[in-house]
Amino acid sequence: MVLKDLFKKPQNKLEGETTEIKIPDELCCKCPSCGQMVLLCDLKENLQVCPYCSHHFPLGARERTGVACDEGSFEELFAGLRSKNPLSFPGYEEKLAAAIKKSGEDEAVICGKGRIGGMDAALFAMDGNFMMGSMGIVVGEKITMLFEYAAEKGLPVVSFCVSGGARMQEGIFSLMQMAKTSAAVRKHGEGGGFYISVLTNPTTGGVTASFAMEGDIIISEPGALIGFAGPRVIEQTIRQKLPDGFQRAEFLLEKGFLDDIVDRRKMADYLGRLLFLHKR
């Protein structure tokens, strides 16, 4: 019997008396939503979605493109660009080095082209492990280049956002990325280009106030926090606690800011269908 089978939820109620089984920490994690212990291998097989409650765990950019694209079809573009320290902001270089180490990526976004449900698309995925997916010059530039590339090749764009917002350490330059990327989205769209924006947990700040909210179709993973101001800033400003579910995907759908909420396990299929409907 493999270890995985040992910890499966007991089928038989009588056997369900919970005997505390110690699973080595490195093999499992506790679902922050339902509290169940989930084996990491099960989680991986389930695209990092809790098999008990469907809580969507974070996904790195590399895993994301892997999940979204038809097997082996993703080809990375504009790889290897790394950020400099335009303002000589104290401590920024150390933070970048730590982020590169932590995420295994050069920056907080990876771009490329691939096939989704058999349809060609340009796509990018942000990485929350890289300084919370914040946007500086390099992130903005890569995204801009991708929209320009897609416009030139007549490809649709699919984006997967996860971001804490602007990269503070790059000051005004990070703010300017909002204008630069928005201009590129607009140009791509003007030529009839189709853009699907997929929001994941969390998408906030300058990313929400630019390309994340500029999709022809905007969808989200379940439970994702989506907003301009972060909940903590709002609570400090209004001096009251925010209601449960505030700024979550379900709330945004209700308020009319999302086209739909799509489970990660159905995402590739959903995107493929939309891309097919926009075939040029």
Partner: protein
Amino acid sequence: MAAYEKVSLARHKDRAGTTDYIGKIFTHFVELHGDRRFCDDKAVTGGIALLFDIPVTVVGIERGKDLSERVKKNFGCAHPEGYRKAIRLFKQAEKFGRPVICFVDTPGAYPGIGAEERGQGQAIAESITEMLSLKVPTVSIITGEGGSGGALALAAADEVWMLENAIYSVISPEGCASILWKDATKAKEAAECLKLTAQDLYSFGVVDRVFSEDKDFDALCEEIKGALLEAVREKAALPKEELLDRRYQKFRRIGREFL
């Protein structure tokens, strides 16, 4: 001058606001209200006026003078309706071929329940995109505080100008200090690090022109008025395609040297 002194000057309670500039620079101003969707956000003032003999659309965010005005204007923090009012006036300007002049003085877009519920991020994104696509000349002047996305929403223009003692930043120095060092009292240090003065931004190529404030308000407005006429004339003479392409390249270029 230390960066934080500039921050204090930019936020000074007696600093001129959009209404003051409109009164001195333009004539025949007709104020227009409302976003036609939800309400009239008083943090954003907008309307039509004459710049010399040219009809222009003017939109500005301002804090207000005394306390009651400040409360009405939510201390210069716009809600989505403010940006949607701006968008409405931008579209109207384009329809009638009027250049758009924006004045910006805001600590930032308002972080509140209603603002989020009604899509603050979406409203700002749309305002930025709308500005970038306008087929009429656009000039934005940051007169006081240019607070983050809430300021950029009215500053995605052909020309972005600043007053000598204005600031423009991705985050307030207080916010930056409290996030980075968990200490909002280190705002002075943060202000230095953020390089948010008009002089810094001019050197980065983010801002195209800085107006010195070593003169009285009338003289300053005369100077701005002359500069606006020149800019508007020059841009109105361009073919639309080129106007839009130049605007695209302007934002495309910023920060390139750090790639």
